[in-house]
Amino acid sequence: MAQRGSAPNEPAAAGPPEVSLTIPVAPEMEIVATAQADALGEYMDMSRDKIDEVKLALVEACINAFEHAETEDKQVHITFRVGGDTGEWLEIEVRDRGRGFDAQGIESPSPHKTFEERRRRGWGLHIIKSLMDEVEIVSGDWGTRILMRKYK
């Protein structure tokens, strides 16, 4: 007969949903990350259009890390957090351990530069800032962290 007693490992009280994901620096791995954003967006009942904006911003954050970070571990680390009393926002943190960059010194892109001067690239961070409600970019010789939040 089994003995009664307290469970050996009581689960901690449930906190706000948080999901961590590590993706390799490899073609189309950013799409793996967007599947998680999709699932969490649906979980918190975010509109389809806003989920799509989050996914596109996440894609840009991932490919920015893929292209520019030159990470030693060849990985990008992503944490998703649903916050607020009733799941009012989705926060995504994208981190790499690459060489970093001068986040303040990046020249802003513009349609004029793109079309008249044929400087077509360099839109990633601008797109992230345009599609998300709050964005914080911190970079140094330890790597880069992009923290971005979208409200429902």
């Binding site: 894609v59 892109p109 839109w123 990633g124």
Partner: protein
């Protein structure tokens, strides 16, 4: 897993409609460019890019679409987009594509606007 973009081409007189299905990244963009340049070589006067089955793009893919747009403009042809999701529409406007190419809600409206014949 592959989200690689597929591109199908349909001719309506001297207008080519390129319909995409999937993720427009560098590979997807290059596939679109390849088909677009084939049609330009054949002498089409307008290209319509129907993105109805594309829900995600990235800035590398869009930069290739900008190259296509520049090539179209050099040839004095016309490029129009249709079937964009609100997010892709917004991103195209951020990057300035809407200043150089027309965006229509549907393929029918795009065809009518460029004066396609049956």
């Amino acid at each position: 897993m592959s989200e690689t973009c597929k591109v199908s081409v349909e001719r309506r007189g001297d207008v080519a409609v390129l319909s995409t299905d999937g993720y427009i990244n560098n590979q997807g963009g290059e596939e679109i460019a390849r088909e677009a340049y084939v049609e330009l070589e054949k002498g089409v006067r307008a290209l319509i890019l129907n993105l109805q089955k594309t829900r995600i793009v990235n800035s590398i893919g869009i930069s290739i679409l900008i190259e296509v747009l520049e090539k179209v403009m050099e040839r004095k042809a016309v490029l129009a987009f249709c079937g964009l999701t609100p997010t892709i529409d917004k991103t195209f406007r951020i990057m300035g594509l809407a200043q150089y190419a027309a965006i229509y809600p549907t393929e029918e409206e795009a065809l009518q606007a460029v004066g396609a014949t049956a």
